[in-house]
């Protein structure tokens, strides 16, 4: 049996659009909850230390006074962060992550299925918008691949695992794009699209994709010199 015949077979098609969808969503949600609880259990909320009484020079300044004293504008301060150091990288990665989230969630084809199955109707992008966003996503993914291949400092820390992760993230979009434009054998491409999408959902809680949650936990809840906000959790 040829490989294309396997992917276009009724058995695999029905499996991919039925039980595998449930399994992948179940693994995704259960795994995500497990990982979030695991990280929260590895950190604890610290008691805030106040030393004002002991040392008056450390007294907190009122926001108004602080603003008055500030020499740098918020934009100048932003330029001192990674935004100013690698602006292109920041723009590309932001666009990549936004597309990664919004395209599958607000895609017409996905939402029609959601409506058919549960009568749940959410806002959707027009097909043209989704198509353009998919192309933008694929372009940014290509940027990341080229960066991994040709930028020395990135290549030196790249392993096959990173390439595997890149494929899992990109393949659902590429196959979705090909299926929408009816390129190659539609049945094979759409089965591959579903399988890659399910693989990605399953992989999110157990691979580097966990940064989807960990980013927010580390930056907003765990305190470090790179915290965004006043998170007060620390590692045991």
């Amino acid at each position: 049996m040829e490989i294309s015949n396997i992917f276009s077979s009724a058995l695999l098609y029905n499996l991919a659009r039925g039980p595998l969808v449930w399994i992948s969503f179940l693994v995704f949600f259960a795994g995500s909850i497990f990982q979030i609880l695991r990280i929260l259990s590895l950190t604890k909320n610290d008691e805030r230390i106040g030393i004002q009484a002991k040392d008056s020079k450390n007294k907190k300044k009122p926001a108004k006074e602080k603003k008055k004293e500030a020499i740098l504008s918020w934009f100048q301060q932003l330029k001192l962060t990674i935004v100013g150091v690698s602006p292109i990288m920041i723009i590309v990665t932001t666009v990549f992550h936004i597309c990664l989230f919004v395209v599958p969630v607000f895609l017409l084809a996905h939402n029609i299925m959601l409506d058919d199955a549960w009568g749940l109707s959410i806002i959707t992008f027009s097909e043209k918008t989704a198509d353009i966003l998919t192309i933008i996503f694929l372009a940014t993914a290509l940027f990341f691949l080229l960066r991994r291949l040709f930028v020395g400092r990135v290549r030196s820390i790249t392993s096959l695992y990173d390439c595997f992760i890149w494929i899992i993230a990109t393949a659902p979009f590429l196959t979705g794009f090909l299926a929408y434009h009816q390129m190659f054998d539609y049945r094979t491409v759409i089965v591959l699209h579903m399988l890659f999408g399910e693989l990605m959902l399953i992989a999110i809680p157990f691979t580097k994709f966990t940064h989807m949650f960990f980013f927010f936990i580390f930056r907003f809840f765990v305190k470090s010199e790179y915290s965004l906000g006043k998170g007060n959790r620390s590692w045991y």
Binding site: I49, I71, Q76, Q77, L80, E225
Partner: protein, 224 residues
């Protein structure tokens, strides 16, 4: 580890007044760890100073360069060539780093951008507490790990003064615990109250010379 904090911007600006091209040298050691003088802080200070220079329409300009550690001459290898383009050095290292930079580049003025505050511990992110004054005569073994030189307002070596109040607080403030009260309590808890009776010789503050430390295994190599 050595803890330091950045000087007020006005003081820094005033010290480098009159120099056109300034190089701000950061330190990747203690200053970086205590968030006062690493690469990030060098970039921040330079951005602030360049903004002030620009606002005054002055021709002053400051650049940054951070080395591994400013207290070791072997990390200065890049600097002689870089410094050809600069009139003075601003150092974000501790007092030791500033002095080594001044010694190596004796033809350039070196100004400190941080105040060296203490040898201390990390209490929290960006919060440090002094624990040692580097007196060179450690008595922690007799004082249950509490330093009377650092903790006692009078740096008393052999028991408290008469100013300890009933609650075990120091006479200078009711918020500050008496070091000797804490030493007594901890020694008592460890059944080591005998240690408090061992008289320690007074500190020889007078006639002190600049101290050089050679670790025991290296004395063969350097000792005369």
């Amino acid at each position: 580890m050595v803890k330091s904090e950045r000087k007020p911007i006005e003081e820094i600006k005033d010290s480098i007044k009159g120099y056109k091209n300034i190089l701000n040298i950061g330190c990747g050691g203690c200053s970086s760890v205590c968030l006062s003088g690493g690469q990030r802080e060098v970039n921040m200070l330079n951005a602030e100073l360049n903004t002030l220079f620009k606002a005054e329409n002055g021709s002053q300009k400051i650049d940054g360069y951070t080395i591994e550690r400013q207290c070791n001459a072997k990390y200065y290898y890049d600097l002689p060539e870089i410094l050809l383009n600069y009139d003075c050095i601003l150092s974000m290292a501790c007092g030791a780093g500033v002095q080594l930079a001044a010694e190596i580049f004796s033809n350039k003025p070196v100004f400190p951008a941080v105040n060296t505050v203490s040898i201390g511990i990390d209490r929290d992110i960006g919060m440090y507490e002094e624990k040692c004054r580097a007196c060179g005569q450690c008595v922690l073994g007799y004082t249950a790990g509490i330093c009377p030189v650092t903790r006692c307002a009078k740096s008393l070596f052999n028991g408290p003064c008469g100013g300890t109040n009933g609650g075990g607080m120091c006479e200078i403030s009711n918020e500050i615990p008496c070091a000797w009260h804490d030493i007594y309590e901890r020694l008592k808890e460890q059944n080591r109250l005998d240690d408090i009776l061992k008289i320690q010789p007074v500190m020889m503050w007078q006639n002190q010379v600049q101290r050089t430390t050679i670790q025991e295994p290296y004395k063969e190599r350097y000792g005369k």
